[in-house]
């Protein structure tokens, strides 16, 4: 092992390789590593954010769903109520109408009865007079006996 110029040659080569490495090898590779690290960090961030967004969206969707269900239920209830009301009103109206028809029919009937009674009374009066004329064989003064006949008819 004799020391000779090789030691200097090796030192020069060493120096050159280190300088080369420092200028052209180390910075690009570590730069890429740092950049990848950043990218991964950003990716993880984005994933977190997306997860959070998804959760929010799901919550919102659930809320919307619940709200619309409630609304639908309210509408249905209202509709039912309205339908019942309409039916109730219709029933009421029908009842009123029926009563009215019944009342008018009764009134008409009453009138008819009265008219019939009236007619009957008149005919009975006339008949009674005629009968009485026949019985008396004499003409009765209609005017003198009208009061009597009417009294008779009212008694019928």
């Amino acid at each position: 092992m004799n020391i000779n110029l090789t030691i200097i040659g090796q030192a020069i080569a060493f120096f050159l390789f280190v300088v080369f490495c420092m200028k052209y090898v180390w910075p690009p590779i570590t730069g890429a590593l740092a950049e990848r690290k950043k990218k991964i960090a950003e990716g993880l961030d984005a994933a977190d954010r997306a997860e959070r967004d998804l959760k929010l969206a799901q919550e919102k969707a659930a809320n919307d769903m619940r709200a619309s269900k409630e609304e639908a239920a309210a509408i249905i209830e209202q509709a039912n109520k309205r339908a019942n009301q309409i039916i109730e009103e219709a029933k009421q109206q029908a009842r009123v109408e029926a009563n009215r028809v019944k009342a008018s029919a009764e009134a008409e009937l009453e009138q008819e009865i009265n008219r019939a009674k009236e007619a009957l009374r008149a005919q009975v009066g006339a008949l009674a007079i005629a009968g009485a004329e026949k019985i008396l064989e004499a003409s009765v003064d209609e005017k003198a006996h009208a009061q009597l006949v009417e009294k008779l008819a009212a008694e019928l």
């Binding site: 040659g9 090796q10 490495c21 052209y24």
Partner: protein
């Protein structure tokens, strides 16, 4: 594998000798023929095989990492990018846990140290005769393929780290601060000269221990592979396979230790005491 005409000691020393190019005082410029001549060339010689393999592997490292860095994407990474990212994150984690100052040099430095030393150590797992044999056929007499078994290679890196330690110590604390740190501890101020001596020894011990730890581990590992290679070829696997498997741990661990200690030393250089 020892051929009949080569003795064991020749085989071992052949495998432990670098291909050295330099100016021999008697034979002039040329490749050394043996360790003896290489030593005689003195300091102004160069281990060609170490340089080829270390620079080659370093280029492989920067080429591959640059290729990935160019096509890098922050989206879904491909296989190569995944692999590179794993290494980079491993290094980055280590640096961040040890080094708490802001310095853009440290992490790429640690990456270079770890991957480069790992690759150089990895050459230890290539069967030790293959490439030297091919080189021998091509007329190259010595060809060590594990650069980290050359103390010059580990020393070159360790002393570069040492230079960085001194540079950042001075940059961070100033020359005065650095000297103060060296001379006013661990003993009280009146022992400043003694402290200074102690601390300088300690400071110098850092690169020396860095260099020798890696060199020693790899040299010893290589040596054991060489010794195993002296066995008959049908018996070698009994020892070489377990040792190679164990060595996978060693080469990774040594690369890791060199890197971590570098980070620790540089963190200490940045810290104020």
């Amino acid at each position: 594998m020892a051929s009949g005409t080569v003795t064991s000691s020749e085989y071992i020393s052949h495998h432990l000798t670098n291909l050295t190019f330099g100016n021999h005082p008697e034979k002039g410029w040329g490749f050394a023929h043996g360790a003896q001549e290489a030593a005689e060339m003195g300091f102004w010689a160069i281990n060609v095989d170490s340089m080829i393999w270390s620079v080659g592997l370093g280029l492989l490292f920067v080429w591959f990492f640059r290729k990935v860095a160019k096509a890098v994407t922050s989206g879904v990474p491909g296989n190569a990018q995944n692999f590179v990212e794993t290494i980079i994150e491993f290094i980055d984690e280590n640096v961040k846990s040890i080094f708490h100052h802001k310095n853009p040099v440290i992490a790429p430095l640690a990456l270079t140290i770890f991957v480069w030393i790992f690759l150089m150590n990895l050459m230890d797992l290539v069967p030790i005769d293959w490439i030297p044999y091919i080189a021998g056929q091509m007329g190259v007499s010595y060809f060590k393929i594990v650069p980290t078994t050359d103390v010059n290679v580990t020393g070159g890196m360790a002393f570069s780290v040492f230079a960085l330690i001194v540079y950042y110590s001075i940059k961070q604390k100033g020359v005065g601060g650095f000297l103060k740190e060296l001379s006013f501890q661990p003993l009280p101020k009146i022992f400043a000269p003694f402290n200074l001596f102690l601390e300088i020894v300690g400071l110098l011990a850092k690169p020396v221990s860095l260099a020798l730890r890696l060199f020693g581990n790899m040299y010893a590992g290589e040596m054991i592979f060489i010794l195993i290679a002296l066995l008959p070829f049908w018996a070698q696997w009994v020892l070489s396979v377990p040792w190679a498997i164990f060595h996978i741990l060693v080469i990774t661990l040594q690369a890791f230790i060199f890197m971590v200690l570098t980070i620790v030393y540089l963190a200490m250089a940045h810290d104020d005491h």
